[in-house]
C-alpha cells in the first residue's frame, strides 16, 4: 500500500476520527522502515502512476502483535479505572 492509501485507509476505518497528515505520515513510515518493521519498494498505482509502496515485514508482524497486546492491556486498564470512578 502506498502512503496516501495508508492515510486514506486509516481515515476510512476510524470513521474519520484519525486523519494522518503527510507531516506525520512520512516521518512515521520512514522510522518504521529504519526499524525494519516494514519494507518499501517502488510500484505502479492503479492508474499507472509511480508510487512508493510499503509492506509489513516479519519483524513488523511481531512488533504489531506485541504492540497490540500492550495496547489492549492499557485500554483495558484505563477502561477499568474509568468505570471504577
Amino acid at each position: 500500500m502506498h502512503g496516501l492509501g495508508i492515510s486514506r485507509r486509516i481515515q476510512q476505518i476510524t470513521g474519520g476520527t484519525f486523519v494522518v497528515k503527510p507531516g506525520s505520515l512520512f516521518p512515521a513510515l520512514h522510522r518504521m522502515e529504519e526499524e525494519g518493521w516494514i519494507t518499501a519498494f517502488w510500484g505502479e498505482s492503479e492508474n499507472n502512476r509511480r508510487a512508493k509502496y510499503y509492506r509489513m515485514s516479519k519483524a513488523g508482524q511481531k512488533q504489531l502483535e506485541a504492540e497490540t497486546k500492550r495496547w489492549s492491556r492499557i485500554s483495558l486498564a484505563i477502561g477499568q479505572a474509568l468505570e471504577a470512578s
Binding site: 496516501l4 507531516g23 512520512f26 516521518p27 520512514h30 529504519e34 525494519g36 502512476r49 509511480r50 508510487a51
Partner: protein, 896 residues
Amino acid sequence: MPLLVKARSFLRNLFFTRRVDADLDQEVHAHLELLIEEKVRGGIGMAEARRAARIELGGVEQVKEQVRDSRTGAFLESLVQDLRFAWRSLRRTSGLTAFVVITLALGIGMTSATFSMVDALIFRPYPVPHPSNVVSLAGTTHDSAIEDFSYREYMDIRDNTKSYDGVIAYADMQAVGYSAETGVTPRVKGGMMVSGNFFQVLGVEPRLGRGFRADEDQVPGRNAVVVLGPDFWRHEFAADPAVVGRTIRLNGTPFTVIGVAPDSFPGLLVFGHPDLYVPLAMAHVFSTNIDKNFFEDRDDRELNVKARLKPDASLQDARNELALLAKGFERDYPKVTRSRGAAVYTQFQTRTAEDQNWKFGVVFAILGLAVLLVACTNVAGLLLSRARERAREIAVRLALGAGRLRLIRLLLTESLILAILGGVAGIAIGYGVIEWFHSKDTIIFATELPVAVPFQMDTRVLLLCVGLAVLSAFLCGLAPALQSTRVDLVNALKSADVDVPGRKRLWGRNMLVVAQVATSLMLLTASFLMARAFQHDLLVGTGFTKDHLLMTSFDPRLIQYNATQTQQFYRLLAERMRETPGVQSVALTQNIPMGTDEFDGVTFVPDGFTMPPDRANFTSTMDTIDEGYFQTMGVPILRGRAFLATDTADAPRVAIVNAHFAKHYWPGGDAVGKRIRLDNSAGAPVEIVGIAETIKYQTMSDPMDFVYMPLAQHPVARMVLMLRSSGDPLQLVQPVKDAVRSLDPNLPLLHTQAYEEFYLNQAVRGPQIAIDLVGTMGLVGLLLAVAGLYGLVAYNVSRRTREIGIRIALGALRADVLRLVMGKGFVLVGIGTGLGLVMGFALERLMNSMLFNSGGVDVVAYLIVVPSLFVVAMLAAYVPARRACRIAPTQALRYE
C-alpha cells in the same frame, strides 16, 4: 536482526545522503500527484485540485525536512552539516575570524597560564594514591598557625592517635654533601629525612628495589640506607637498574642504596624535588641544630607531620583527638611546650597557610580572567555586528522553514568552532607563558638545592582550557544567536537595512563596551600599582651596601667536621682572607640579607618587660655573624658597639639588636646594656651591647625585629663568607679557592657569586617578572578594549551612513557629525571609566591586604592610568568618527 537493519539505515543515511534524499523527493512528489489525481477524480477542476492538494500536503520541503529530522542519525548529520557550513562561512570572513581567534586565544592563554600557577600552588593533589585523605598535622602558637613537631612529639602523635591509617614525618629538604665514592669532592644535593613508614603510608611503590622497612627507623645510626629520587637516579646513575645495593657517601657517611622512587612521585613539596630520602634514624648525619639532641629534645622541632585519615574517620574527630594530645604535651612538658596547640589541616589549608606565594597566583588568575572577560565581550560584539550583516540570510532561512532552535544551534556551532580554534591557540600561548617562566628559573630560585618551577600544562589545566573555550563560545555566541533569530520576518525580507535602530538592541553592545573599558582600566591599575609599589621599595632601598661584595658559602659538615674543627676552619679562613691583597674587609654570616634561605628564629624573654599573661616568650628572626659583618655590609651601628674579637665563647654572652627591636621592647629607654634571656625567663642571660640600623632582611616589606649573635658564642656550621673588594669582586674567587685548598682540599665552595648580581636576581629581576606579566595583561586588556570601542563606533557609522549622508546634504557641519558619532562613545567611556575606578579601588584594597600589607590609595597611579585610558579610548572612537565626517552625501544616498 533489527539492530542490523537500523545500523544499515544509519550508514545509508550518513553516506548516501544524496540518494536517500532523491528517493524522498520522488516519494513526496508522487504523493502530491496521487493527491491531485484523487481530488480530480472527486470532480473538481485541475487548478483547484492542485491547490487543495498542496494545502493538504503542507509544503513539500517542510515534509521532507520533518522526515529528515526523524531519521536515524539525524542529529549527527545536521551537526556535520552545521560544522561544514560554519567552517565555510568563517572562511569567507577570514579576517574577522582570525581577529576573533587571536582575541580568544589571548584571553584563554592568560587564564590558563595563571591558573597553572594557582593549581600548582594550591590545588594540585599530592602525587600519591587517594591524595584527598592525606592531612597535615601541625603545631600552633601565638605567632604561627603552622609549626613543626619534634621527633618525640611525632612519636607520641604516631602512637596515640586512632584517626589515621599511618602518621609520617619528614624534615625540610636540606643540603647534603653527596659523593659516589671516597676521595671525590662532595657535591651538594637536596636530601630529605623521612620516617620509616613514609613510602608505605603514602602508598608510593619504589620503581626499583624497596622502600624503608619499619625496623630501619628504630635505632639511631644503625641503618644507613637511602632511597634515590627519580631525577637524581637518572642524572647521577644514568638510570642504571643495578644501582640498588651500591654504596654512596652522604656527608661522608657510607649509605646503601635500597631503592629508587617512581617518576610519579617527585616528593610532597611544591617547589622542591628531593634527590635522596634517608631515614630519620640517621639524623645525626644531617641534623642542623648542633646544640639539640634530635632524638631526645622535645623542643628540637624540625619535622613536618602528615597522616592518612582512615576512610571512616572524620576530620573533626581527628582535630579533637590531636588538640587533646597537645594539651597533654603542655601538661607533661610545661618547660618546652608552653601555649602550644595543634591542628589538622587539609591539603588546601596547608598550602594556603604555608607560604604566601599563592596570593600572587590568585591575583594573577583574577587578572587573567579579566582579560578573558574583555576578550569574550569583544568577540560577542564582533559576532553581534556580523549577525546584523547576516540578518537577511537568517530571515530567508527562517522563511524557508528552518526552525529557530536549529538556527541557534547553527550559530552556536560557529562560535564553538571559533572558541575551539581560540582554545587551541590559547593553549599555545599559555604554554609559551609557562615556558617563559621556566626560562627564568635561575632568577626565581638562586639556590643550589634542586628546585623547579612547578607551573605546567597538565591535564587539569588543559581541561580548564577546553572548558573555558566552550564557556566562552556560549558567552560570545548565545546573545547574537538569540538576537539574530528573533527578527521580524516580513520587515527583514522587505527592507534592505534590516536593523531597525531599536534601543534595546544597541543596549547590549553598549554594555559590552562599558564592561571592556572598566575591566581594562582595572587591569592597567593593577599593573601600575604593582610597578609603583616595587619602584617605591627600590627607592627606599635596603639599608646596606651591595656592590664590591663576593659571597661564598661553606658547609664543613659535608666533610664531617665537628663543631670545633668547623669554628677553627672559619677563623683561619677569615684570617687568611684579611691578609689577601684586594680584600678590604671580611665577614662571616649565617644568612645573607635578601637571600633564599630563611633566617633562624630566636626565642627569648626581655628582662624587665611585663609579659602578657597568655605567653611565656617572644620570637624574633636572627642571624649569626662575626665581628667584620657590620663594617663589610655597611650597616651602621646607631648606639653601643659592634661585635669584637673579645666576644669569645668564654666571655659573657652578647647580642646586637636592630632599632626596630629596641623600640619594640624598650620604647622609652635605651636598649644598650639591657638583657634578654634565651628560651624562657630562667634561660641564659644575653646582654645587648649595640643597636644596628634596621635594614631589609628577607623581603622588601615592612621592617621587623632582628637579633644578631656572635659566631663564637653561637656556633653554626653553614656560613657565608662575604668579602669586600677594592676592585671587581669576582677577582677574589681564585684567592678564596686557594685559601680553602690550603686549609682543606676536600671542602667545596658552595654558592659563589657577586652579591650584587645575586641581589638583582633575587630582589629586582624576580619581582620584575611579576610586573611584566601583569603589565602584559593590562596592555592586552587595553588593546582589546580599544579594538572593541573602535568596532562599535565603526559599526554605528556604517549603520547610519545614509542618515549621516542626509544630515551632511542638509547642511550639517563636520563638527556636528563628529559630535553625533563621538558623543555616545564619550558617554560609554565615561561610564566605563567610573565603573573601572570602583573596580580598581576594590582590587587595590585586595592587593594591599594580600600582597603589600599596606593601606592607602595610590593617587598618582590613578592620575596616570585614568586620563591615558580615556585618551586612548577616545582616539579609538575618533578614527571611525572622522570617516563618518568624510561621507560624501551623493555616495551615501546611493548606498544600497
